[in-house]
Symmetry: C2
Subunit: 331 residues, 2 copies
């Protein structure tokens, strides 16, 4: 294993420390327990948004802390849920007096730990709600999940719910907006080559030079099937059509098309995937009204990509367009 | 070789086409010859900025086309200089009546082709100047270069010169600002694993599981030396100290610290490198006033990173901070 790290047991802390130094105008890093919080938190009179999950998916979640998106992010160990004793204080730090929404990707450990943390925070008189992101159409249930997994659609949930909190919606309102995004967003991914978890030191799974995994999870969990390597357009069809079918996208609809890199795939290839996914949407008569292309929900240096489609309405579009100032998303 | 492409001979065009579709509010893609130009170009009364180079370094350069940065970018084939018959029309398209600055990375083919294109554009009565970026301290001369190579420091040149053009500086002024950035920026990189050029189909060079290349070029050209794999802090010292020595950074100075990913290295590792590079600067008494961390000048899916330091003064800091709206850099 060759990685730009010092010690597998310290990579998360050193990385978060570097992140805090690089973005000190945006965030404050809290140690022991480790979490990342807006430098100006708590923002009085605004609903707080807290997310988190295993590390290794950067820039998710710390890269989305800032004005118009998350109030705090809690990084777990690599591919490991953050613990309630970190989530709870992050929740208190994010509370500006109007309650806190937990945005949780649907993995069993994450769901349980956020639930426990919510109870701890409520014992401190902070009102907490939670939404569970489960956008991955590839599989029902999986290695770490009952139901569908939460993957790249999380970015849309965090952005749009963050904009709703920023405009002053109350906790019910922000929760309802987050639920509406979740109801209208779907994703599916492919892996060409696995990433390497530092403390494991070997690839998370093996693929030969002739095969790829369609429907991969962001921890390398198995997807729908292994198939022979194919041209990008054919692979993109295998990702995009199940997403569009599941969403029931039809003519005349407006969507956000998000092509996400898994960490080790060049940007040039992501745009090749975007090109074909967009053609497929247009062939169905849908309009791609907004786009996002890049590495936002990664799996270390995994080679691969995912396609996410969000059905837009006027309000979701406005909230997507609202100003955001985070390390990884800014406009 | 497993890549998300359809045909090695069409990957650049399909990728640029996807890029143009995803960012249609920012750029227009011109075909045959292929170049990317601001959607609102030419901007009357402003100096135009044109850069370009071999593809495979995305988001460089097309990702930096937009308000406050480049007016046009000319992508060559993978790792291959763009041709004068593409650079010249891009130059004409970028001309708003006050001349055009070519920002050229120091590779023999790029320099020659931009020179020829400048002659063609001048025959059409467009005044053209050129600056040559040569920030890589690793080696004098190399496989494709007389003198030092142009690498990640190019981002700072394009951002700051772009801001000077945006505020209305004339061609002499924008050129002088670009030269001042070039005089004050230095870089050095490391590779852990090579990228794969699509039409080659095999890694550009071989490194064993126990060795890394210090001073690597962005096309995989040899650097200073191959050394055994080491902890990130030790590698970061081998990149940062030569940069700081060459720049002659001393106590009391303000710098921009830019840790650039080569394409296949996780963001978490880039922040581990950033953390140590920042410590080294602070140990010399310098202040890191601005930071940039991410994949900006890549080498396909190469694993590795580079450290760039720019000595700042008040004007360069203001120009760095000035608004920018491109696909890859926005604030």
């Amino acid at each position: 294993m060759k990685k730009l790290i010092n010690d597998p047991s310290r990579v998360v802390e050193e990385s978060v420390e570097g992140f805090g130094l690089a973005h000190a105008e945006l965030v404050t890093v809290h140690r022991d327990p480790w979490y990342v919080v807006r430098a100006d938190a708590p923002v009085q009179g605004k609903v707080g948004l807290v997310s988190g999950g295993g590390s290794g998916h950067e820039p998710l979640h710390a890269g989305f802390v800032g004005r118009g998106m998350l109030t705090a992010a809690v990084p777990g160990a690599m591919f490991t849920s953050p613990t309630p004793d970190a989530i709870a204080p992050a929740t208190l730090a994010a509370n500006g007096g109007r309650g806190v929404l937990h945005i949780v990707k649907n993995y069993t450990g994450d769901v349980l730990n956020f639930e426990t943390a919510a109870e701890l925070a409520e014992a401190d008189d902070v009102q907490v709600r939670a939404v569970i992101v489960n956008d991955d159409v590839a599989v029902e249930d999986s290695l770490y999940t009952a139901g569908r997994r939460g993957v790249a659609g999380t970015v849309a949930v965090e952005k749009i719910a963050g904009a709703a909190a920023e405009r002053g919606d109350d906790l019910d309102g922000v929760t309802a907006i987050a639920e509406r995004v979740i109801a209208n967003v779907r994703s599916m991914g492919v892996a060409l080559r696995a990433g390497i978890v530092p403390h494991a030191g070997v690839p998370g799974f093996d693929l030969t030079e002739e095969e790829i995994e369609i429907g991969i999870g962001i921890h390398g969990e198995p997807g729908r099937r292994r198939v022979p390597m194919a041209p990008a357009d054919a692979i993109t069809e295998q990702l995009t059509n199940p997403v569009l079918d599941d969403l029931g996208i039809s003519g005349g609809e407006q969507v956000l098309l998000f092509v996400n890199g898994m960490g080790g795939t060049p940007a040039s290839e992501l745009y090749v995937v975007y090109r074909r996914a967009r053609q497929l949407l247009e062939e169905r008569g849908a309009t791609v009204a907004r786009s996002l292309v890049g590495n936002y929900v990664t799996s270390l240096e995994m080679q691969g990509a995912s396609v996410t489609v969000l059905r837009l309405d006027d309000e979701l579009t406005q909230l997507w367009d609202a100003p955001v100032h985070t390390a990884a998303l800014r406009w």
